[in-house]
Amino acid sequence: MNLSKIFIGAFLVNNILLMRFIGLCSFFGVSTSLDTSVGMSAAVVFVTMLAAWVCWVLWHALLLPLGLEFLRTAVFILVIAGLVQFVEMFLKKYVRGLYSAMGIYLPLITTNCAILAITFLNVDYGFNLLQATIYALGVGGGYSLAIILFAAIRERLEDSPVSPSFRGYPIAFVGASLISLAFLGFANLFGISI
Protein backbone atom coordinates (compact mmCIF):
# COMPACT_ATOMS: atom_id res chain seq x y z
CA MET A 1 0.00 0.00 0.00
CA ASN A 2 1.94 2.94 -1.16
CA LEU A 3 2.54 5.76 1.27
CA SER A 4 1.32 8.66 -0.80
CA LYS A 5 -2.00 6.88 -1.33
CA ILE A 6 -2.33 6.35 2.39
CA PHE A 7 -1.65 10.02 3.00
CA ILE A 8 -3.96 11.39 0.29
CA GLY A 9 -6.66 8.99 1.36
CA ALA A 10 -6.50 10.16 4.95
CA PHE A 11 -6.01 13.82 4.12
CA LEU A 12 -8.63 14.32 1.41
CA VAL A 13 -10.61 11.37 0.13
CA ASN A 14 -11.61 9.92 3.46
CA ASN A 15 -11.23 13.13 5.41
CA ILE A 16 -11.76 12.15 9.01
CA LEU A 17 -14.11 15.00 9.86
CA LEU A 18 -16.03 15.68 6.69
CA MET A 19 -16.30 12.18 5.28
CA ARG A 20 -15.94 9.84 8.22
CA PHE A 21 -17.61 11.95 10.90
CA ILE A 22 -14.95 11.24 13.46
CA GLY A 23 -13.91 14.07 15.78
CA LEU A 24 -17.07 16.10 15.38
CA CYS A 25 -17.63 17.28 18.95
CA SER A 26 -14.41 19.25 18.97
CA PHE A 27 -15.01 20.26 15.36
CA PHE A 28 -18.16 22.19 16.18
CA GLY A 29 -17.07 23.31 19.58
CA VAL A 30 -13.70 24.77 18.67
CA SER A 31 -14.26 26.14 15.18
CA THR A 32 -15.96 29.32 16.31
CA SER A 33 -12.69 31.15 15.99
CA LEU A 34 -9.72 30.71 13.71
CA ASP A 35 -7.16 31.02 16.52
CA THR A 36 -8.56 28.26 18.67
CA SER A 37 -8.91 26.07 15.59
CA VAL A 38 -5.26 26.44 14.71
CA GLY A 39 -4.28 25.78 18.30
CA MET A 40 -6.50 22.74 18.54
CA SER A 41 -5.17 21.35 15.25
CA ALA A 42 -1.60 21.64 16.41
CA ALA A 43 -2.39 19.89 19.67
CA VAL A 44 -4.36 17.18 17.90
CA VAL A 45 -1.60 16.45 15.38
CA PHE A 46 0.96 16.29 18.16
CA VAL A 47 -1.00 14.00 20.45
CA THR A 48 -2.10 11.90 17.49
CA MET A 49 1.46 11.17 16.40
CA LEU A 50 2.54 10.24 19.91
CA ALA A 51 -0.56 8.15 20.56
CA ALA A 52 -0.24 6.39 17.20
CA TRP A 53 3.33 5.33 17.97
CA VAL A 54 2.78 4.32 21.58
CA CYS A 55 -0.38 2.33 20.83
CA TRP A 56 1.14 0.66 17.78
CA VAL A 57 4.16 -0.44 19.80
CA LEU A 58 2.01 -1.59 22.72
CA TRP A 59 -0.20 -3.59 20.40
CA HIS A 60 2.55 -5.34 18.50
CA ALA A 61 4.98 -5.81 21.36
CA LEU A 62 2.63 -6.52 24.24
CA LEU A 63 -1.06 -7.07 23.61
CA LEU A 64 -0.82 -9.28 20.56
CA PRO A 65 1.99 -11.61 21.69
CA LEU A 66 0.38 -12.04 25.10
CA GLY A 67 -3.05 -12.75 23.63
CA LEU A 68 -4.51 -9.71 25.33
CA GLU A 69 -6.34 -8.30 22.31
CA PHE A 70 -9.47 -7.80 24.36
CA LEU A 71 -7.73 -5.13 26.40
CA ARG A 72 -7.21 -2.98 23.33
CA THR A 73 -10.00 -0.46 23.92
CA ALA A 74 -9.10 0.10 27.55
CA VAL A 75 -5.36 0.31 26.99
CA PHE A 76 -5.54 2.65 24.01
CA ILE A 77 -7.88 5.15 25.61
CA LEU A 78 -5.89 5.14 28.85
CA VAL A 79 -2.71 5.75 26.85
CA ILE A 80 -4.33 8.73 25.17
CA ALA A 81 -5.68 10.09 28.46
CA GLY A 82 -2.24 9.66 30.02
CA LEU A 83 -0.47 11.31 27.07
CA VAL A 84 -2.79 14.30 27.21
CA GLN A 85 -2.25 14.59 30.94
CA PHE A 86 1.49 14.41 30.40
CA VAL A 87 1.44 17.00 27.60
CA GLU A 88 -0.65 19.27 29.80
CA MET A 89 1.82 19.04 32.70
CA PHE A 90 4.78 19.53 30.38
CA LEU A 91 3.29 22.61 28.75
CA LYS A 92 2.28 24.05 32.10
CA LYS A 93 5.84 23.80 33.36
CA TYR A 94 7.92 24.62 30.31
CA VAL A 95 5.79 26.38 27.72
CA ARG A 96 3.43 28.48 29.85
CA GLY A 97 2.34 30.67 27.00
CA LEU A 98 1.03 27.82 24.90
CA TYR A 99 -0.55 26.22 27.94
CA SER A 100 -2.70 29.24 28.74
CA ALA A 101 -3.53 29.77 25.09
CA MET A 102 -4.83 26.20 24.79
CA GLY A 103 -6.83 26.57 27.98
CA ILE A 104 -9.67 24.14 28.21
CA TYR A 105 -8.99 22.53 24.87
CA LEU A 106 -6.12 20.44 26.09
CA PRO A 107 -8.11 18.06 28.31
CA LEU A 108 -10.80 18.00 25.63
CA ILE A 109 -8.41 16.22 23.30
CA THR A 110 -8.80 13.04 25.32
CA THR A 111 -12.37 12.63 24.12
CA ASN A 112 -11.46 13.52 20.55
CA CYS A 113 -12.74 10.49 18.68
CA ALA A 114 -10.21 11.05 15.90
CA ILE A 115 -7.20 10.15 17.99
CA LEU A 116 -8.66 6.93 19.32
CA ALA A 117 -9.93 6.10 15.84
CA ILE A 118 -6.45 6.40 14.36
CA THR A 119 -4.94 4.08 16.94
CA PHE A 120 -7.63 1.51 16.16
CA LEU A 121 -7.44 1.86 12.41
CA ASN A 122 -3.66 1.50 12.39
CA VAL A 123 -4.20 -1.93 13.85
CA ASP A 124 -7.23 -2.87 11.75
CA TYR A 125 -5.56 -1.90 8.48
CA GLY A 126 -2.48 -3.87 9.43
CA PHE A 127 -0.09 -0.97 8.93
CA ASN A 128 3.58 -1.22 9.75
CA LEU A 129 5.09 1.57 11.81
CA LEU A 130 5.97 3.75 8.83
CA GLN A 131 2.53 3.39 7.27
CA ALA A 132 0.92 4.09 10.63
CA THR A 133 2.97 7.26 10.97
CA ILE A 134 1.99 8.48 7.52
CA TYR A 135 -1.62 7.61 8.18
CA ALA A 136 -1.63 9.51 11.48
CA LEU A 137 -0.04 12.48 9.75
CA GLY A 138 -2.64 12.33 7.00
CA VAL A 139 -5.52 12.20 9.42
CA GLY A 140 -4.08 14.94 11.62
CA GLY A 141 -3.53 17.04 8.52
CA GLY A 142 -7.02 16.34 7.24
CA TYR A 143 -8.46 17.30 10.61
CA SER A 144 -6.53 20.55 10.59
CA LEU A 145 -7.52 21.35 7.03
CA ALA A 146 -11.19 20.77 7.69
CA ILE A 147 -11.35 22.62 10.98
CA ILE A 148 -9.43 25.66 9.74
CA LEU A 149 -11.52 25.90 6.59
CA PHE A 150 -14.64 25.59 8.66
CA ALA A 151 -13.54 28.17 11.23
CA ALA A 152 -12.95 30.70 8.49
CA ILE A 153 -16.49 30.14 7.27
CA ARG A 154 -18.00 30.28 10.72
CA GLU A 155 -16.32 33.57 11.48
CA ARG A 156 -18.00 34.94 8.36
CA LEU A 157 -21.32 33.43 9.39
CA GLU A 158 -21.15 35.41 12.62
CA ASP A 159 -21.70 38.61 10.72
CA SER A 160 -24.21 37.30 8.25
CA PRO A 161 -27.96 37.62 8.52
CA VAL A 162 -29.21 34.20 9.54
CA SER A 163 -32.82 33.41 10.41
CA PRO A 164 -33.31 32.96 14.18
CA SER A 165 -33.85 29.22 14.35
CA PHE A 166 -30.74 28.61 12.29
CA ARG A 167 -28.34 30.76 14.28
CA GLY A 168 -25.37 28.99 15.77
CA TYR A 169 -25.27 25.23 15.31
CA PRO A 170 -27.91 24.67 12.61
CA ILE A 171 -26.37 26.97 10.04
CA ALA A 172 -22.95 25.65 10.99
CA PHE A 173 -24.14 22.16 10.12
CA VAL A 174 -25.52 23.30 6.81
CA GLY A 175 -22.19 24.95 6.14
CA ALA A 176 -20.39 21.75 7.02
CA SER A 177 -22.71 19.92 4.64
CA LEU A 178 -21.51 22.11 1.80
CA ILE A 179 -17.82 21.67 2.57
CA SER A 180 -18.42 17.94 2.90
CA LEU A 181 -20.04 18.01 -0.53
CA ALA A 182 -16.88 19.59 -1.88
CA PHE A 183 -14.75 16.90 -0.28
CA LEU A 184 -17.05 14.25 -1.72
CA GLY A 185 -15.62 15.34 -5.02
CA PHE A 186 -12.32 13.78 -3.99
CA ALA A 187 -13.89 10.33 -4.05
CA ASN A 188 -11.92 7.87 -6.17
CA LEU A 189 -9.05 10.28 -6.55
CA PHE A 190 -6.03 8.18 -7.61
CA GLY A 191 -8.26 5.17 -7.29
CA ILE A 192 -8.79 5.57 -3.58
CA SER A 193 -12.36 4.64 -2.81
CA ILE A 194 -14.44 6.19 -0.07
Binding site: C25, A74, C113
Partner: protein
Protein backbone atom coordinates in the same frame (compact mmCIF):
# COMPACT_ATOMS: atom_id res chain seq x y z
CA UNK B 1 -44.29 27.00 45.43
CA UNK B 2 -41.73 25.20 43.32
CA UNK B 3 -40.20 21.98 44.63
CA UNK B 4 -36.48 22.16 45.29
CA UNK B 5 -35.54 18.60 44.42
CA UNK B 6 -36.21 17.42 40.88
CA UNK B 7 -38.64 14.56 40.84
CA UNK B 8 -37.48 11.03 40.23
CA UNK B 9 -39.44 10.94 37.04
CA UNK B 10 -37.66 13.98 35.69
CA UNK B 11 -34.34 12.10 35.91
CA UNK B 12 -35.80 9.77 33.35
CA UNK B 13 -37.67 12.20 31.15
CA UNK B 14 -35.25 15.09 30.91
CA UNK B 15 -32.86 13.05 28.81
CA UNK B 16 -35.53 12.23 26.28
CA UNK B 17 -36.62 15.60 24.95
CA UNK B 18 -35.79 18.60 27.08
CA UNK B 19 -32.13 17.71 27.44
CA UNK B 20 -31.85 15.34 24.52
CA UNK B 21 -28.12 14.82 24.24
CA UNK B 22 -27.99 14.96 20.46
CA UNK B 23 -30.64 17.45 19.46
CA UNK B 24 -30.49 19.89 22.35
CA UNK B 25 -27.08 19.55 23.94
CA UNK B 26 -25.37 18.63 20.69
CA UNK B 27 -23.02 16.01 22.07
CA UNK B 28 -22.30 12.48 20.90
CA UNK B 29 -22.42 13.60 17.29
CA UNK B 30 -19.86 11.27 15.71
CA UNK B 31 -21.87 8.07 15.82
CA UNK B 32 -25.05 10.02 15.20
CA UNK B 33 -24.03 11.10 11.74
CA UNK B 34 -21.95 8.12 10.78
CA UNK B 35 -24.21 5.22 11.63
CA UNK B 36 -27.58 6.60 10.59
CA UNK B 37 -27.42 5.56 6.95
CA UNK B 38 -30.45 3.43 7.65
CA UNK B 39 -33.02 3.18 10.42
CA UNK B 40 -31.93 -0.34 11.29
CA UNK B 41 -28.26 0.58 11.67
CA UNK B 42 -29.23 3.62 13.72
CA UNK B 43 -31.19 1.38 16.06
CA UNK B 44 -28.25 -1.01 16.33
CA UNK B 45 -25.83 1.76 17.17
CA UNK B 46 -28.09 3.34 19.75
CA UNK B 47 -28.74 -0.04 21.36
CA UNK B 48 -25.02 -0.66 21.75
CA UNK B 49 -24.35 2.81 23.14
CA UNK B 50 -27.38 2.58 25.43
CA UNK B 51 -26.06 -0.65 26.89
CA UNK B 52 -22.78 1.02 27.76
CA UNK B 53 -24.44 4.20 29.03
CA UNK B 54 -26.87 2.48 31.39
CA UNK B 55 -24.43 -0.04 32.80
CA UNK B 56 -21.59 2.39 33.28
CA UNK B 57 -23.90 4.90 34.96
CA UNK B 58 -24.99 2.18 37.37
CA UNK B 59 -21.47 0.93 38.11
CA UNK B 60 -20.02 4.42 38.52
CA UNK B 61 -22.80 5.19 40.95
CA UNK B 62 -22.18 1.93 42.83
CA UNK B 63 -18.50 2.65 43.39
CA UNK B 64 -18.68 6.41 43.76
CA UNK B 65 -18.03 6.37 47.49
CA UNK B 66 -14.76 4.52 46.99
CA UNK B 67 -13.35 6.71 44.28
CA UNK B 68 -11.36 9.81 45.20
CA UNK B 69 -12.05 12.83 43.01
CA UNK B 70 -8.48 12.98 41.81
CA UNK B 71 -8.62 9.65 40.04
CA UNK B 72 -12.25 9.57 39.08
CA UNK B 73 -11.70 10.22 35.37
CA UNK B 74 -9.34 7.26 34.84
CA UNK B 75 -11.73 5.07 36.84
CA UNK B 76 -14.67 6.21 34.71
CA UNK B 77 -12.66 5.44 31.61
CA UNK B 78 -11.78 1.96 32.82
CA UNK B 79 -15.39 1.22 33.69
CA UNK B 80 -16.74 2.57 30.41
CA UNK B 81 -14.12 0.83 28.29
CA UNK B 82 -14.91 -2.45 30.03
CA UNK B 83 -18.54 -2.25 28.95
CA UNK B 84 -17.55 -1.08 25.49
CA UNK B 85 -15.28 -4.08 25.10
CA UNK B 86 -18.07 -6.36 26.31
CA UNK B 87 -20.56 -5.06 23.75
CA UNK B 88 -17.80 -5.13 21.12
CA UNK B 89 -17.23 -8.87 21.54
CA UNK B 90 -20.89 -9.67 22.04
CA UNK B 91 -21.75 -7.98 18.76
CA UNK B 92 -18.89 -9.69 16.97
CA UNK B 93 -20.12 -13.04 18.14
CA UNK B 94 -23.88 -12.68 17.83
CA UNK B 95 -24.54 -9.85 15.38
CA UNK B 96 -21.64 -9.89 12.92
CA UNK B 97 -23.44 -8.06 10.14
CA UNK B 98 -24.35 -5.18 12.44
CA UNK B 99 -20.80 -5.18 13.76
CA UNK B 100 -19.41 -4.81 10.25
CA UNK B 101 -21.67 -1.86 9.56
CA UNK B 102 -20.83 -0.06 12.79
CA UNK B 103 -17.13 -0.75 12.35
CA UNK B 104 -14.81 1.46 14.32
CA UNK B 105 -17.77 3.22 15.96
CA UNK B 106 -18.25 0.39 18.41
CA UNK B 107 -14.94 0.96 20.21
CA UNK B 108 -15.45 4.69 19.72
CA UNK B 109 -18.39 4.47 22.11
CA UNK B 110 -15.75 4.80 24.82
CA UNK B 111 -15.13 8.44 23.89
CA UNK B 112 -18.77 9.21 23.38
CA UNK B 113 -19.17 12.49 25.25
CA UNK B 114 -22.63 11.48 26.44
CA UNK B 115 -21.41 8.52 28.47
CA UNK B 116 -18.44 10.19 30.10
CA UNK B 117 -20.56 13.29 30.55
CA UNK B 118 -23.34 11.54 32.43
CA UNK B 119 -20.88 9.64 34.60
CA UNK B 120 -19.22 12.88 35.64
CA UNK B 121 -22.28 15.08 35.86
CA UNK B 122 -24.72 12.66 37.41
CA UNK B 123 -23.70 9.13 38.30
CA UNK B 124 -20.78 10.23 40.45
CA UNK B 125 -23.09 12.23 42.68
CA UNK B 126 -26.34 10.33 42.70
CA UNK B 127 -27.73 7.04 43.91
CA UNK B 128 -27.80 3.87 41.88
CA UNK B 129 -31.47 3.86 40.93
CA UNK B 130 -31.44 7.54 40.00
CA UNK B 131 -28.34 7.00 37.91
CA UNK B 132 -30.06 4.12 36.21
CA UNK B 133 -33.01 6.37 35.37
CA UNK B 134 -30.72 9.09 34.13
CA UNK B 135 -28.85 6.62 31.95
CA UNK B 136 -32.08 5.18 30.64
CA UNK B 137 -33.51 8.60 29.86
CA UNK B 138 -30.42 9.72 27.97
CA UNK B 139 -30.27 6.37 26.19
CA UNK B 140 -33.87 6.79 25.07
CA UNK B 141 -33.18 10.33 23.91
CA UNK B 142 -30.11 9.19 22.01
CA UNK B 143 -32.04 6.34 20.42
CA UNK B 144 -34.89 8.65 19.49
CA UNK B 145 -32.58 11.12 17.78
CA UNK B 146 -30.64 8.46 15.92
CA UNK B 147 -33.68 6.52 14.75
CA UNK B 148 -35.36 9.69 13.51
CA UNK B 149 -32.23 10.69 11.63
CA UNK B 150 -31.69 7.18 10.29
CA UNK B 151 -35.29 6.84 9.17
CA UNK B 152 -35.22 10.20 7.42
CA UNK B 153 -31.97 9.46 5.64
CA UNK B 154 -33.10 6.03 4.59
CA UNK B 155 -36.47 7.38 3.49
CA UNK B 156 -35.06 10.14 1.32
CA UNK B 157 -32.14 8.20 -0.08
CA UNK B 158 -33.67 4.79 -0.74
CA UNK B 159 -37.38 5.23 -0.23
CA UNK B 160 -37.66 2.72 2.59
CA UNK B 161 -37.78 2.83 6.37
CA UNK B 162 -36.54 -0.22 8.25
CA UNK B 163 -36.54 -1.90 4.87
CA UNK B 164 -40.24 -1.28 4.23
CA UNK B 165 -40.81 0.47 0.96
CA UNK B 166 -42.80 3.62 1.47
CA UNK B 167 -42.38 5.50 -1.77
CA UNK B 168 -43.68 5.00 -5.29
CA UNK B 169 -41.47 3.51 -7.98
CA UNK B 170 -40.82 6.76 -9.74
CA UNK B 171 -39.21 8.13 -6.61
CA UNK B 172 -37.09 5.10 -6.02
CA UNK B 173 -35.64 5.22 -9.49
CA UNK B 174 -34.11 8.63 -8.77
CA UNK B 175 -34.02 9.20 -5.03
CA UNK B 176 -32.12 11.78 -3.03
CA UNK B 177 -28.92 9.75 -2.70
CA UNK B 178 -27.36 12.90 -1.25
CA UNK B 179 -28.96 12.02 2.06
CA UNK B 180 -26.99 8.84 2.46
CA UNK B 181 -23.67 10.52 1.96
CA UNK B 182 -21.90 12.70 4.55
CA UNK B 183 -23.16 16.05 3.22
CA UNK B 184 -26.72 14.85 3.57
CA UNK B 185 -26.15 13.87 7.17
CA UNK B 186 -24.75 17.26 8.10
CA UNK B 187 -27.55 18.99 6.27
CA UNK B 188 -30.31 16.94 7.86
CA UNK B 189 -29.08 17.39 11.38
CA UNK B 190 -28.79 21.13 10.80
CA UNK B 191 -32.42 21.18 9.74
CA UNK B 192 -33.48 19.03 12.70
CA UNK B 193 -31.65 21.27 15.12
CA UNK B 194 -33.21 24.36 13.58
CA UNK B 195 -36.58 22.67 14.00
CA UNK B 196 -35.83 21.89 17.64
CA UNK B 197 -34.91 25.52 18.21
CA UNK B 198 -38.01 26.73 16.43
CA UNK B 199 -40.24 24.43 18.46
CA UNK B 200 -38.43 25.54 21.62
CA UNK B 201 -37.91 21.90 22.58
CA UNK B 202 -34.99 22.68 24.85
CA UNK B 203 -36.82 25.13 27.06
Amino acid sequence: MTSQKPSRLSYLTSGIIKENPVLILMIGLCPTLATTTSARDALGMSAAASFVLIFSNVVVSLVRKFVQPSIRIPIFIIIISTFVTIIDYVLQAYQPSLYRVLGVFVPLIVVNCIILGRAEAFAYSHGVFDSFLDGLGNALGFTLALVILGSLREFFAVGTVFGKTLTPNWYRSAPMLFMIFPPGAFFLIGILKALAVKLKLGK
